[in-house]
């Protein structure tokens, strides 16, 4: 296992990325099974959610256990704008991102000084508030328990995206953009500022980093990206309901980040495969396994924390940098 991982890491990155993208492009041609392609679409949406939470949990080290709320804000913003006002899905996407970011700033500003478990509890509370708000529907726009149905499909230059395969490429496009953006952020002044805060907040502040601003930005950006995932989700299923955005799904997102290796982009994909794709795979093999899902997750989590606390594919930027430096000089 270790040898394989090291081999993969040592390959020239560009060849590796090229091969991965080519492989991803060819999957629908090879698989030709709508069920599995749909599963991969879901995988992509969850990968985006994982990457968005990774900004907050992985880079900035802030515990956020209510991330599904921002996913919900994005999905409902799109649904409401599209159903009631007929705003095209792709126009809704940036609006969803902005609305989610707005809510993130609104709720995180007063709790930013909280640390660790305290922050965690407040975010759980917020997640539940959003879900219950959607459920009880005080303004009669969210559809209550039944949610909203009849959300349109996105269309690009008049071409409607409505088959699983079309959705596969649509989601793949956003996944790739997200990866690119995250990679750039990791190696930027802002990304480093988040890492400094994660490592030692007081020292970061003493070194001249506006920690309040940086943390707000992490929350806002993570939420915005989850809002985009919400937009994609809403148009993919055309129906959304409050139960999708439950606390359990916030936990799944958190597990995706921690399982794969906090702060690591490939780790998020490993985590998503483990949390989303694997249960799907098991279901086709043995349907009764679904009843055991929670137990299996629980055991897997405990085992992870004991045997591999750094995650399955931890962040390795430092060694890579070192190696690049050696070969270039």
């Amino acid at each position: 296992m270790k040898a394989v991982l090291n081999y993969l890491r040592n390959l020239d990155r560009r060849i590796l990325y090229g091969a991965l993208i080519a492989g991803a492009l060819l999957i629908p041609v090879i698989i030709r099974n709508d069920y599995w392609i749909s599963a991969l679409v879901l995988f992509g949406i969850w990968a985006i959610l994982g990457l968005s939470l990774n900004i907050i949990v992985g880079y900035a080290g802030l515990f956020q256990l209510g991330h599904a709320a921002f996913w919900a804000v994005g999905a409902y913003t799109t649904a409401i704008l599209n159903i009631y006002l007929k705003v095209p899905i792709l126009v809704c996407m940036p609006i969803s991102a902005l609305v989610a970011a707005f809510f993130a700033i609104l709720i995180s500003r007063p709790i930013l000084h909280l640390r660790g478990d305290y922050l965690c509890i407040v975010t759980i509370g917020f997640g539940e508030i959003v879900r219950l708000f959607l459920y009880n529907d005080p303004f009669k726009i969210t559809g209550g328990v039944n949610g909203l149905r009849g959300i349109a499909r996105p269309s690009i230059f008049g071409l409607e995206i409505n088959t699983p395969t079309a959705y596969y490429y649509y989601v793949l496009f956003f996944v790739l953009i997200t990866i690119l953006a995250m990679q750039r952020l990791e190696n930027s002044r802002l990304g480093r500022a988040w890492n400094y805060i994660r490592e030692d907040e007081l020292a970061a502040e003493a070194m001249g980093i506006d920690t309040v601003k940086a943390k707000l930005l992490a929350f806002a950006l993570g939420a915005a990206w989850a809002g985009v995932a919400g937009n994609i989700y809403a148009s993919r299923y055309t129906v959304i309901a409050p139960e999708t955005f439950s606390f359990w799904n916030s936990v799944v997102m958190f597990c995706i980040v921690v399982l794969g290796g906090t702060g690591s982009i490939p780790g998020v994909f490993v985590g998503t495969a483990g949390m989303i794709l694997l249960p799907e795979l098991l279901r086709t093999i043995l349907s009764s396994i679904l009843e055991w899902r929670l137990l299996i997750f629980g055991i897997a989590m405990v085992a992870m924390m004991i045997f591999r606390p750094e995650g399955l594919w931890p962040h390795r930027r430092y060694r890579l940098e070192l190696r690049r430096e050696e070969t270039s000089s």
Binding site: A181, R189, L190, R192, A193
Partner: protein, 253 residues
């Protein structure tokens, strides 16, 4: 003119008055030491100046500007850098990344320029890297750029902390017990470094227990005891001050 001026500074924690009506000043270009027994309030004064703690009373002026009420990062940006008594590096980041932290407040790339990797942002990244490397070399850490900070031996971690503070391009460098835990050779290297920094125009304000360091490099010394300033003067004056001797050795019966 005094670069840093502290007037009637008072801070208490519950019933304990940690700093009691302390006034002093730091002149531009000097090396000033603050000494005193444990619990005298030295680190509290550092924390008050750098904005980590708010004072109960008193005034702190840097270059004529009032620092009270500013947040730590704003004070650093104005030109006051510090190290910590117990090392506070970013343990899981590399030596280079640690030093790059200091350059954060001297650069300005934001979210969008990072996402689109504009030319200005790319040039700034290069600048940050090169500047950081300069400080790494200055503190004798070359060859260790990509080591994780937590893997460095104690003496090098102390140097890295100074390198990181220097990267903020400070006018005053505040060192909290820089010689603590260093061996004799490391201590004399530290003294050389401090003198060199002063010669480059950086004002040094340090807390130190090692009397060899304090008496060897300081131009002036402030002595604190139980939150009060009990003496101020040149090394000779302090060494012969009966109140200082009493604070350190106790009263003769």
């Amino acid at each position: 003119m005094a670069l840093l001026e502290v007037r009637n500074l008072t801070k208490s924690f519950g019933g304990l008055v940690a700093v009691n009506d302390v006034s002093f000043h730091v002149d531009e270009g000097e090396i000033l030491s603050m000494i005193g027994p444990n619990g005298a309030g030295k680190t509290t004064i550092f924390n008050l100046i750098t904005g980590v703690l708010p004072p109960d009373k008193g005034e702190i002026r840097f270059n004529g500007r009032n620092l009270v009420g500013l947040r730590p990062h704003q004070i650093t940006e104005l030109g006051i850098a510090r190290t910590f008594q117990t090392i506070r590096l970013f343990p899981n980041l590399t030596v280079l990344e640690n030093v790059m932290a200091g350059l954060h407040c001297r650069t300005k790339a934001g979210l969008w320029s990072s996402l689109f990797q504009t030319r200005v942002q790319q040039e700034e990244e290069k600048f940050i890297r090169e500047k950081a490397l300069e400080y790494v070399r200055f503190m004798g850490l070359e060859g260790l750029e990509f080591e994780l900070a937590k893997n460095l031996p104690y003496g090098l971690q102390k140097r890295l902390e100074i390198a990181r503070a220097l990267a903020t391009n400070p006018r005053i460098l505040m060192l909290d017990e820089p010689a603590a835990g260093l061996n004799e050779q490391e201590t004399s290297e530290l003294m050389e470094t401090i003198t060199k920094l002063r010669d480059q125009g950086i004002t040094i304000f340090l807390i130190e227990h090692d009397m060899k360091v304090v008496m060897g490099i300081s131009e002036r010394i402030i002595v604190l005891d139980n939150g009060y300033k009990i003496a101020e003067g040149t090394p000779e004056e302090i060494q012969n001050n009966p109140r200082v001797i009493e604070a350190y050795l106790g009263k003769e019966e």
